[in-house]
């Protein structure tokens, strides 16, 4: 096993202003516990209550989407793995990123949806959100991440970024990045 260099990990986290990061199987209670830690960090960071609620909301939607997806696929709790990072960028904005293993065709569909949302302004996003809210629950479940993704886009100050990496086992890794 390659020895862990905690010091260089720390240096890299500090350099990239990473407040919180997580990698591994993510359970319902873990989402809540990490969410708690995130809220405490945001309070200690003197984030405005509205900004703190937006960051928390984006974190919740991203991680719950990952859990829902794994459940839909019938994957075990162990397979419901997520990579989650909350950081600040140079401009001082909070950035929430989350990644998970996904079937390549689902990943392609997500890229298309993120791209479609990117061209919408706030008013158009709101209209799309209300339209999605009125759709039957089943329609939302089968498409997955419908309302959540629009909600994240509405809370973001810049278009969402998504990328997909093909893995050797035929699956893919999807990364989503939201800047609040």
């Amino acid at each position: 096993m390659e020895p862990l260099d905690l010091f260089s990990m720390r240096e890299s986290y500090n350099r990239q202003q990473i407040m919180l990061c997580f990698n591994g199987p993510i359970s319902r209670s873990l989402i809540e516990e990490i969410g708690n830690a995130l809220r405490n960090y945001l309070a200690a960071d003197h984030a405005h209550p509205s900004a703190a609620m937006d960051v928390f909301g984006v974190y919740i939607e991203l991680t719950q989407n990952i859990r829902h997806y794994a459940q839909q696929q019938g994957w075990t709790e162990q397979d419901a793995s997520a990579t989650v990072v909350v950081a600040r960028n140079e401009a001082g904005h909070y950035v929430v990123s989350a990644g998970n293993i996904i079937r390549p065709q689902d990943g392609e569909a997500m890229l298309a949806r993120v791209e479609a949302l990117a061209s919408l302004d706030k008013a158009e996003l709101k209209a799309r959100y209300k339209e999605q809210l009125r759709k039957p629950r089943e329609a939302d479940a089968s498409s997955g991440a419908g309302l959540g993704l629009i909600d994240i886009a509405r809370k973001s100050s810049a278009p969402l970024q998504a990328n997909l990496r093909q893995l050797a086992d035929g699956r893919a890794f999807l990364s989503l990045r939201a800047e609040i």
Binding site: R28, I31, E32, G35, N36, P49, S50, M53, D54, F56, G57, I60, E61, Q64, R67, H68, K126, K130, L133, R137, D140, L147, G148, D151
Partner: protein, 125 residues
């Protein structure tokens, strides 16, 4: 038993239904993974009250953050109220929020847009 009380948790609001007073109250955050489990009993209580009680119903809300599945569940409850309002049944919502967090008022405002019954958004200190 027509009254009910569900204690709040970190991710679910405290909810009380008072049949005699015609008041349904909710306080706190709501971001459970499965909102349906929590809200269907609230939905059923409201539905039953509107059918049977023959009295005004008021929702007293101090809700804070709602995830999208909780928002969908709340919309279903407001739709019940809207339908009752169209049948000339008296229904109302009072949503109280902390003025330091305008996101809560914005959230309440978006619900209010789709409701024609009395819907008050009140700041408290």
């Amino acid at each position: 038993m027509n009254d009910f009380s569900i204690p709040g948790t970190q991710s679910t609001p405290a909810i009380q239904g008072d049949w005699a007073q015609g008041i349904l109250s909710m306080q706190g955050d709501s971001y459970p993974e499965n909102s349906y489990e929590l809200f269907h009993q609230v939905f059923e209580w409201v539905e039953r009250f509107l059918k049977q009680a023959g009295r005004p119903l008021t929702l007293e809300l101090k809700l804070l953050y709602l995830n999208t599945s909780s928002i969908k569940a709340m919309m279903d409850i407001f739709d019940l109220l809207e339908e009752a309002h169209h049948q000339h049944k008296p229904v109302a919502v009072n949503w109280r929020y902390d003025p330091r967090n305008e996101r809560v008022a914005e959230l309440a405002e978006e619900f209010k847009e789709d409701c024609s019954f009395p819907f008050a958004i009140l700041s408290h200190d």
